[in-house]
Amino acid sequence: MGQGSFEDIIGKKFEGKGQEVPSGVWENVNNALNADLVSHYQSSHSRYRWLTAAAILIAISSFAIHYVTIPIQKKAETNSYNALLTKNFNSVQFQVSDLSAGHLTFSWLPAIILDKPENEPPVNIDNVDRSEELATIEIQTKTAEIELAEASNEIKSFYRTLGQSSRKKSSEKNEFWAGLEAGAGKFNPNFSGANSISNSINSSAAATAVGAGDFSNPSANAVQDGMNEGVATSVGFDFGVKIGRKWTLESGLAYTNLNNTGSASVNVLNGFSNNGEVRTGAIKPENPNQEELETSARIQTSANGEIDLNSNIQFASMPLKAGYYIMDNKFSVRLNAGVAANYLIENSLSDPSNQIISGAHSDLYNDWSFDGIGGLEFGYRLFNKIDMTIEPNYRYSITPLSNSITSPSRFVVQTGFRYTLR
């Protein structure tokens, strides 16, 4: 008999056979598994406390830094542009009240300078006060250098997500989730530079908004000391996958709208104008044989007006984040890092009547910009399928949204709820 035959016989003897197991074995296994769970929770309990304390400290510190030590620069008390005007013009200023329009006020610029050909004989002008001087208004404009406010953006967003699989069981692999999100917050809009906004104002539109001329003098437009703090809203969806026990990969698409108001000083130049106190006169010589001379002055008048501005920036943001679960139970902590690609959809400047003052979306802002994201997400299971989350994260501008000045980094706190589908 060969060995193979012997092993076959032996093997077949035991094939499919079993022995009744004493009941105490399962009880011991059960107890061992319970003890393992208890020790796991006990060891992580102290971690919970330290991490909670660290998270609260980080959140408090961040808020303190951004709201106390780095305040958003307020609008200047004085209008530097108007201040320049008063410095550069010496003549008498006077108001023309009948030219006011609504919320707009006008102040005629003074500076009347006599401009008369040399050796010109004195003329008599009917109905003309010859003692009056006609002048060319010389306008000097300067674009005000407006100091930019230090940028610090806070965006607080709330988002609601639907459809996220459970994170409680960290042993599951290849979990998928998807969700919807919505958010709202504040931001400092002066990252692009008031100077740049001024240059982007469309002349004709601004003039129409002012309501006092054919065109505006672009070089004289000046945004008043920076725009007001605005409101940012976003809506989008996200989806992710759990890789292994602790790693996650998340992406999505969000539409973000940044809206804020401000005001700008607009200097409007008129063409030939016979308004106001600007006159022309015909000069008739005493000798009829002499040519009739007519003196006229090319008058340019200008008005300085203020217009309200509404700035709107819309872009699509596509984040890609990797996450690592430090804890994944009823209370979860996840470390996230990634990048976000932002694509500019549209930006516009308009006045209160929605007339577009500047619509060229590429002038001020880059089509594409990228942010680096790093954050710590805390989650708490409220009910069986509903989680509450809070994520303070830091966004560093890799490439800026504005093409005139580097966009600053910003600290963001996101909160929200997640619903687990399965």
Binding site: M1, S5, F6, E7, I9, I10, G11, K13, F14, G16, K17, G18, Q19, E20, V21, P22, G24, V25, W26, N28, V29, N30, A32, L33, D36, L37, K169, S171, E172, R245
Partner: protein, 185 residues
């Protein structure tokens, strides 16, 4: 409850106790027999089985499904049993022995034995022989694999297996003689 193997695995991976008990109930009898083959005493076999199933539940999340679940569990049980016996293997070192094996006339005798009689005979073997016999004859390991597992030479594995067979032969013959009333003393 009667779950499919797929659901059973997923449930155990999630740590759900009901699924774990279901899996235990399904495989414990067969695995207990395996543990008995490697042990001398019933208590020892219970310890091996208990320890093995704890390992199964802790490591089931790493189960790759490249083999059957039963095979995977059996491997854990065998390795646990070897860990239990390893210290005893060092206490009773195995050496090369020369044994003559002739099973040509014993095939029918072996076939007549029940599995629990055979189990009892195997458990009576010396520890080293018992382990190697189980690994080669019942688990299907080759001698070079056994030598690596137990950190012995291949020759020692072969000779110990031969010795196991010889001893089994003696015990079987002795038992048969006793039954037939022809035992020689």
């Amino acid at each position: 409850m009667n779950f499919s193997e797929e659901k059973l695995i997923k449930g155990c991976q999630k740590g759900k106790r009901a699924f774990q008990q279901e899996l235990y109930d399904k495989y414990s009898k067969g695995m207990y027999l395996v543990a008995l083959r490697y042990s001398k005493a019933q208590q020892e076999a219970e310890d091996i089985l208990q320890e093995a199933f704890i390992k199964v539940f802790k490591n089931i999340k790493n189960f790759r499904k490249d083999s059957s679940l039963a095979y995977w569990i059996k491997k854990i049980v065998v390795n646990t049993a070897l860990n239990h016996q390893r210290s005893k293997l060092y206490l009773y070192p195995m050496v090369d022995v020369t044994e003559l094996n002739d099973w040509s006339d014993k095939e029918s005798i072996i076939s007549s034995l029940s599995y629990d009689e055979l189990l009892e005979l195997i458990r009576e073997l010396p520890t080293g022989c018992q382990v190697i016999f189980n690994l080669f004859a019942l688990e299907g390991y080759k001698h070079h694999e056994i030598s690596k597992k137990l950190d012995i030479s291949e020759g020692t594995s072969k000779s110990q297996y031969s010795r196991a067979k010889s001893l089994l032969s003696e015990k079987i013959l002795s038992r048969e003689s006793y039954r037939n009333g022809t035992g020689k003393f």
